[in-house]
């Protein structure tokens, strides 16, 4: 922990903590007000949640409805945990200024130039003639110039790694950018009693370095005159629920009420509706092929070579059919699909984990490799 050293009160020598949410603190021994002047102090702000529990709940349950989701999911989802998380962002503001060397361009027309002769270089006919006239008369003159820059900057940067939490940092940053005006000073004790504060693990030095580099790239001569670094917390609700034996999560932001991310169960009926007709269709093709092959063999008068050819053809056909067709039907029903919630409430069918191996997985692998070799002409 950063506060592993105690501070001494300058008046009585008693121990005092480095404050967390305000530089103002108090000596626990003499009760005098003290001010922490250390450079490592970062003021903290928060966007207060805008919606009450009822709204968040209704937002959550309305998000459990959809064509891709199991019927009755809103009534059958069992909420295991509903927790607020305060996600930290660094807010860098300040002033940058300097004198930028630039160049001023001036278009100069010289009326003395221009031959008036026909020329086909600029194009055919009269268009080419006039184009060449213009090109000869006009030139661009550059002169050194400068521009004084004195302006404010504002830069937002994630202060924690959010991938493990499945919270989309970029979208939250946009939400914060749009709602910065409602940010207020955070009372950390209040925050910690109303939710989990995610620690800012990204070092502030790295953020400042990135920010300063980006401004300096804007042009030599411009430098940072003043910089203020703050932490701003954005509240997100995480809802963990169970459907059947499986656990799912959903994140909702409490500023604009948007579904940010999460996973939902997939309605398996769709996979069955695709897999069953596929199997029946394959069976139909098999039956028809067998019937045709048998008819061909009988028509050939039982000649050995024709019978043999027929058997090879049927055998090869079956291999392709089983390895590709049946495997596809297997995949449709055995792939553990789930619905991934994307920012803005969009949904995408995604694979939750690798598909278990089926009886024809090895065969389909063999056939695929053989076909691939055949197409490439045997080259690796």
């Amino acid at each position: 922990m950063k506060r592993s050293r105690a501070l001494s009160c300058p008046l009585c020598g008693g121990a005092a903590s480095a404050p967390v949410d305000s530089r103002l603190t108090q000596c626990e021994y003499c009760d005098r007000r003290l001010f922490y002047t250390g450079d490592d102090f970062i003021p903290r702000m928060v966007l207060k949640p805008r919606f009450d529990e009822t709204y968040i709940q209704s937002r959550f349950f309305s998000g459990l409805k959809g064509l891709l989701l199991p019927r009755g999911l809103p009534s059958r989802a069992f909420v295991l945990q509903k927790a607020r998380r305060y996600v930290p962002f660094y807010l860098l503001t300040g002033k940058r200024g300097g004198v930028l060397d630039t160049v001023k361009e001036r278009i100069v027309q010289d009326p003395s130039r221009g031959s008036g002769a026909w020329d086909t270089q600029g194009g055919a006919g009269m268009g080419g003639y006039y184009a060449r006239q213009q090109a000869e008369r006009v030139s661009v003159e550059t002169t050194p110039d400068s521009r004084v820059v004195l302006g404010d900057f504002r830069y937002l940067y994630g202060a924690a790694v959010l991938q493990d939490l499945d919270i989309p940092g970029r979208e939250l940053e946009d939400i914060l950018e749009r709602n910065l005006d409602i940010a207020e000073a955070a009372r950390m004790q209040e925050l910690s009693s109303s939710g989990e504060i995610i620690e800012a693990t990204v070092p502030v030095k790295r953020v400042v370095q990135k920010g300063v580099e980006s401004w300096q790239n804007a042009g030599e001569g411009v430098s940072v005159i003043e910089m203020d670094v703050r932490l701003v917390y954005v509240p997100v609700i995480e809802i963990v629920f169970r459907y059947g034996e499986e656990i799912y999560t959903v994140h909702i932001d409490e500023i604009e009420g948007a579904l940010l991310s999460g996973h939902l169960p997939f309605r398996k009926e769709w996979a069955i509706l695709a897999g069953v007709p596929l199997t029946a269709g394959l069976g139909f093709i098999v039956g028809k092929t067998l019937r045709s092959t048998l008819a061909f063999v009988m028509a050939s008068g039982g000649r050995t070579e024709d019978t043999f050819a027929g058997i090879i053809w049927v055998g090869f056909f079956f291999m392709i059919l089983l390895s590709i067709g049946l495997n596809l039907a297997w995949l449709l029903l055995r792939t553990p699909f789930h619905i991934k919630v994307l920012p803005g409430g969009q949904r995408r069918i995604a694979q939750a984990s690798p598909v278990p191996r089926g009886p024809f997985t090895a065969l389909s692998g063999f056939v695929t490799r053989a076909l691939d070799q055949a197409i490439r002409g045997g080259s690796p």
Partner: protein, 203 residues
């Protein structure tokens, strides 16, 4: 009990007026503390630099301010270093008066981008009066004022003629904390000097 003399400066400083020893008035989140008895503003840092506190009188009459907002007022002398041709051009422009820079912080401070120039181009310095109203929100350090004053002058000159090869030497004579009156209208804030409209949720 006061800190021992000669001891290294502590990172914790008592919130007491360096002049009279009374407790200073400062809000949570602020860094500029006021002693309304001495009419001084102290920037809370290890050195505790102190500045005079003055309240600006609104030129528009005797309307009572709804809020006093802290600005750093910089009084100084600018010397323009330029070639003869440019010096002649600059000689004709209006010289900037006292420079006022916001001492408070807002996430989107661009509302105050041109306030410095507007106040500096007023005819004559602004009148002040003694008061004891609170002036909350003072956060920004006065360390950057000299650099900002120089650039403000360069910006002013750049409007007339390109400042390539031009420099401004700015000598700061005095820095004070100026409490500028702001008035609340139904759906806006108005600054008490130019009566410019600002968004209602600013403060």
């Amino acid at each position: 009990m006061t800190p021992k003399k000669g001891a290294p400066a502590s990172v914790l400083v008592p919130v007491l007026c360096p002049a009279c020893g009374r407790e200073l008035s400062v809000d949570r989140g602020d860094r500029i503390a006021l002693c309304l008895t001495c009419r001084k503003a102290t920037f809370l840092s290890r050195d505790l630099p102190t500045y005079d506190l003055s309240y600006v009188v609104p030129p528009s009459g005797s309307r009572k301010a709804d809020r006093y907002v802290p600005f750093w007022r910089v009084e100084g002398e600018a010397t323009i270093l330029a070639d003869e041709k440019k010096a002649r051009l600059y000689a004709g422009i209006k010289r900037l008066g006292d420079l006022y820079y916001p001492a408070f912080w807002l996430p989107r401070i661009q509302h105050f981008q041109d306030f410095t120039m507007r106040y500096a181009l007023l005819d004559g310095p602004l009148e002040t009066e003694p008061r004891e109203d609170p002036v909350p929100g003072g956060i920004r350090s006065p360390e950057m004022l000299r650099a900002m004053a120089r650039l403000t002058w360069l910006t002013h000159l750049d409007r007339v003629e390109d400042v390539s090869g031009v420099d401004v030497r700015y000598e700061v004579k005095r820095i004070t904390l100026a409490a500028v009156p702001f008035f609340r209208e139904s759906n806006a804030w108005l600054d008490g000097i130019c009566l410019s409209k600002l968004p209602p949720n600013l403060f």
